[in-house]
């Protein structure tokens, strides 16, 4: 069997970052890239299936992104993924989660996996919809926010527990192939030692163009997305002030503030 894992290289903000001149994103100089935290868990979940299975299980990681993403893919290979695929074309820049889902679905059609895992969300953009849109384009069943997973390789169904509000779990039977978005804490992700990452450099990362997955520039990019970023900015902070003094002084101060707000 085969498990396809959609991973993302997310950006974290450095101290004292600056917004790009076009105000649509943070200046890239101030971004630190790393594998999305959720993806560690979905990869681990796939590795658990692989390692406990008697039959052959192939774990393939896929990511949409430029060259720098190879570093994160190599980390996945170091942890035991069999293959890595990276899809990129400059026209993909600006795609929203739905457009990315379209590309992932195209890869899934090509790879024909039994399961597709994605993280519940990415820590930088937090749309939480990439996995779901992938399922939609594939027209496969999906389960979101999976906190527990039981599956016999080769079975036609899997049992998942989904995390709901208030600490509730929902147990769902789902037909395979299916798309699952994996929640943090479902397992304990393994550590990828630096030597492992270095050695994984020997494993090839398959680079695919849009044409390779049967798409064209007309399918992706900001222009072909359902949503577009208008502006990214830091909101003005609210004010807080400690009022000191005797009770009477404090009361007087509060009255003064209220009057100021009323515009008196």
């Amino acid at each position: 069997m085969k498990i396809l894992i959609a991973v993302k290289q997310v950006a974290a903000l450095d101290e004292d970052f600056e917004i790009r001149a076009d105000e649509k994103d943070v200046d890239e100089d101030f971004l630190l890239y790393d594998l999305n935290e959720w993806d560690d868990f979905s990869l681990e979940e796939a590795m658990k299936i692989k390692e406990s299975s008697d039959s052959e299980v192939e774990v393939v990681v896929v990511s949409i992104g430029p060259d720098r993403v190879d570093e994160s893919l190599r980390k996945c290979l170091a942890k035991g993924a069999d293959r890595a695929i990276r899809v990129w074309d400059d026209s993909i820049e600006g795609s929203d989660a739905i457009a990315i889902g379209k590309i992932l679905a195209a890869v899934a059609k090509k790879e024909a996996p039994d399961l597709v895992f994605a993280g519940v969300q990415s820590s930088d953009h937090s749309y939480a919809s990439t996995g779901i849109s992938t399922a939609a384009y594939l027209n496969w069943p999906h389960a979101a926010v999976v906190a527990d997973f039981k599956y016999q390789p080769g079975a036609s169904q899997a049992v998942v527990r989904r995390e709901l509000e208030g600490g509730m779990l929902q147990e769902v039977e789902i037909n395979c192939p299916a798309v699952l978005t994996i929640q943090l804490g479902i397992n304990k992700p393994r550590y990828a030692s630096l030597r492992g990452i270095k050695q994984a450099a020997a494993k090839p990362i398959e680079e695919l163009s849009l044409a390779d997955v049967g798409l064209s520039t007309g399918d992706v990019g900001a222009g072909n997305s359902m949503s577009r970023v208008r502006r990214m900015y830091i909101p003005e902070k609210g004010r807080a002030e400690m009022i000191e003094g005797s009770l009477a002084e404090q009361a007087a101060k509060i009255i003064q503030i209220i009057n100021e707000f009323k515009g008196a």
Binding site: D14, E15, D16, L32, R190, S193, L194, R195, G196, K198
Partner: protein
């Protein structure tokens, strides 16, 4: 005067030829058993990985001989045991040379060449020396028996801290039995030797060439006269002698046959272990060859022959356990037990004709002979064990090699894992932005040069704790001001400096270490400077001892040496003397690792401080508990921290005012321990730099910002 040729000792007199043949046959069997045992041992070592310690053999041999003759390593921190061992050692060596001399003449030179020399004055001197040697041996052995039986030394208790009562290898009673069997058989050989000598004198008391010269074997003569006093006749002595002769002879031959199978083998293994001692053991950890697939030690066959030899050298003296800071606070680690476990494992797995399957060679785990991961993670890599081991066992490199395997398998504290990931991501253990590394310098009233952009004399490698820890930043600023005031032309690497990697390497994350080291080496090599200085002993060690292995050979000094020089040359003028009563804590990486014991003490003296040493000082300094990456692993609650243990030691010094450190991690650890162990208000913890700072009158404009 008798014919000197007649003055000698009888050999096999009155023996039937059959008896002599029998004795020789038994002798050959004993030697065969001995040789087979040696072969099995050597085969075991050959099953280990290769090691490049074959260089400079003559030099190594001379060093080993010096160590053995002086007994230098044995008298350290245990004079009586060392001296008693000296008596046994020299007694045994002389007696062995004596017996070999007889063999040389009787079995080789005389039958083959007719050469004879074992008679006359030579014989008499020989006899006297051997009597004295025998006395030495017996006295030494008696002291060792007394020591084992009555001194109740904790280090001679083999009960294990990492096992539970009831575990099969918990108390290691077989070792105790072996110790006693060794002592008794050895002392019996010595005692029967003397009695034998006495019975020979009584038996041959009629021969003047024997009896008249008895004073040359004083112990035998004394015993002989006692025997005569209680009425032993020459004939009685002759009869008694035959039985004793066989007993003594057979016991001695058994002893020889047993050497490679019992603790007696330390005669050879300890000596060779000393010979292959690595002076940089633990200070410069071994590289992982690029072509090697997995890092570190997983199976017993991953150990090198040198490691396997070290395992066999251990004499269980327990000095490492006594010095170990982890052991002192009740952590499940005794360096001795790690060595003994692996030794038992190696003996079990590698002494058989065929090596067992790979799965049975795993040295990690909970079974007999395996080492717990909790044990390995308890180590602070402070090198106290390596330092004190009298036979040059190198515990720390083995522990780190085993940790490398644990890291590869991800078997470590989650917090440590997080820290390693943080260091990989940001280049520092604080998870701070690279840009903030030199943020402390912004508050100074002068600019510090960027060594990447302009040439400097001194390149200051700051290190993580001195760069990012708020308390240490104050010290870092003081040091910057000090260097500036002294007119030193210095600069920093700013955001290009990464964690030096010393502790990352000691954790066992070799890949990350390689990344950090090669990045730093590249950065440093691109700068124009004369020498490096650092306030951080950890960075100091790895740059000094380990970067050369990665192509980075740099001149580096710890700041204590630099400052001492600046004061002595007058570049720093001390305007005031301090009259503090202080004690000094040797940081492991400055002291034991790099022998920088004197510079900080000299500076304290120059400042006018009264230095009172703690009991554990210099090479016996007690680790603060932060080494080997333990600063990133929380200590278990409920048991004492090594730093608190150290505070108690300092607290015993009457009127102590300042506990002086010269390491950023020490400052953090001990300021914390001062509060938690209840000495707050009694004395204070200070960086040496802060004391120097007090003695310098800075111009107003050089002042530091108040709120840091």
């Amino acid at each position: 005067m008798n014919n000197p040729k007649e003055i000698t000792r009888v050999l096999f007199e009155n023996f039937q030829p059959q008896a002599i043949y029998l004795f020789y046959a038994i002798g050959y069997v004993a030697i065969a058993v001995f040789i087979y045992g040696v072969y099995v041992q050597l085969r075991k070592y050959r099953r280990g990985k290769s090691d490049g310690s074959w260089n400079d053999l003559l030099h190594r041999f001379i060093d080993m001989a010096k160590t053995m003759v002086s007994h230098r390593t044995l008298v350290r921190r245990d004079k009586s045991a060392g001296r008693a061992h000296g008596l046994i050692f020299f007694g045994f060596v002389l007696l062995f040379i004596g017996t070999s001399t007889i063999t040389l003449e009787y079995d080789i030179l005389r039958p083959l060449f007719g050469v004879q020399f074992w008679y006359g004055n030579f014989y008499l001197l020989f006899s006297l020396v051997l009597d004295l040697a025998g006395i030495g041996l017996i006295v030494g052995l008696i002291y060792m028996m007394y020591r084992r039986k009555w001194l109740n030394l904790p280090k001679l208790d083999y009960k294990r801290v990492d096992r539970q009562v009831g575990d099969p290898d918990f108390d290691r009673n077989q070792y105790r039995r072996e110790d006693w069997a060794f002592l008794w058989s050895f002392i019996l050989i010595g005692v029967t030797g003397f009695v034998l000598e006495a019975t020979r004198l009584v038996w041959l008391s009629g021969r003047p060439e024997v009896w008249d010269y008895r004073i040359w074997s004083p112990v035998g003569a004394l015993l002989a006269q006692l025997m005569q006093l209680i009425g032993l006749t020459a004939e009685g002595a002759s009869n008694l002698r035959v039985g004793l002769w066989w007993f003594h002879g057979l016991l001695s031959l058994t002893f020889i046959a047993c050497i490679p199978y019992t603790k007696i083998k330390h005669i050879f293994t300890a000596a060779t272990s000393l010979m292959f001692k690595d002076p940089l053991a633990g200070k410069r950890l071994p590289r992982v060859p690029d072509e090697q697939k997995t890092a570190g030690y997983k199976t017993i066959t991953d150990l090198t022959w040198k490691n396997l030899l070290h395992l066999d050298a251990c004499t269980k003296c327990g000095r490492c356990q006594e010095a170990c800071p982890a052991n002192a606070v009740g952590a499940p680690l005794s360096p001795r037990d790690v060595i003994l476990s692996l030794r038992e494992f190696a003996n079990h797995a590698l002494s058989a004709k065929e090596i067992p399957k790979e799965a049975e060679l795993d040295i990690h785990g909970k079974d007999i002979g395996q080492v717990f991961m909790e044990t390995l993670w308890s180590c602070r890599t402070c090198l106290a064990c390596v330092e004190i081991c009298p036979v040059a066992v190198e515990h720390v490199p083995i522990i780190v090699q085993m940790r490398r395997n644990l890291v590869e398998a991800g078997e470590m504290e989650p917090l440590l894992e997080k820290t390693l990931q943080t260091i990989h991501k940001t280049g520092n253990s604080f998870g701070e932005s690279k840009r903030k590394r030199a943020a402390w310098a912004k508050e100074l009233p002068f600019e510090i040069k960027d060594a990447r952009k302009e040439p400097v004399d001194v390149l200051w490698f700051v290190g993580d704790y001195a760069s990012f820890d708020p308390r240490n930043q104050k010290v870092t600023q003081s040091f910057a001001r000090l260097m500036h005031h002294a007119g030193v032309n210095f600069g920093l690497l700013f955001e290009a400096e990464l964690n030096a990697g010393n502790d990352v390497r000691r954790v066992g994350e070799e890949g990350l270490y390689e990344l950090l080291a090669s990045s730093n080496i590249g950065t440093i090599q691109s700068c124009d400077f004369k020498s490096i200085v650092t306030t951080d002993p950890h960075s100091f060690n790895t740059i000094r001892n380990e970067y050369p292995d990665f192509g980075g050979k740099f001149e580096i000094e710890h700041y204590t040496t630099k400052v001492k020089q600046l004061i002595e040359s007058g570049q720093i003028k001390l305007k005031k003397k301090l009259d503090y009563r202080v004690t000094f804590h040797d940081p492991c990486h400055l002291g034991r690792y790099n022998k920088g014991y004197d510079a900080p003490r000299d500076v304290l003296k120059l400042l006018g401080c009264e230095l009172v040493e703690m009991a554990r000082n210099r090479d016996n300094s007690f680790c603060c508990g932060a080494g080997g990456g333990r600063i990133w692993i929380p200590d278990p609650v409920g048991i004492e921290k090594p730093s608190a243990n150290r505070m108690k030691e300092a607290g015993q010094i009457e009127g102590l005012q300042v506990f002086v450190v010269s390491c950023p991690k020490d400052l953090t650890m001990f300021e914390d321990a001062l509060k938690t162990s209840g000495f707050e208000g009694k004395f204070i913890v200070r960086e040496l730099i802060e004391l120097i700072d007090e003695c310098i009158e800075y111009e107003a404009w050089e002042g530091l910002p108040q709120a840091v």
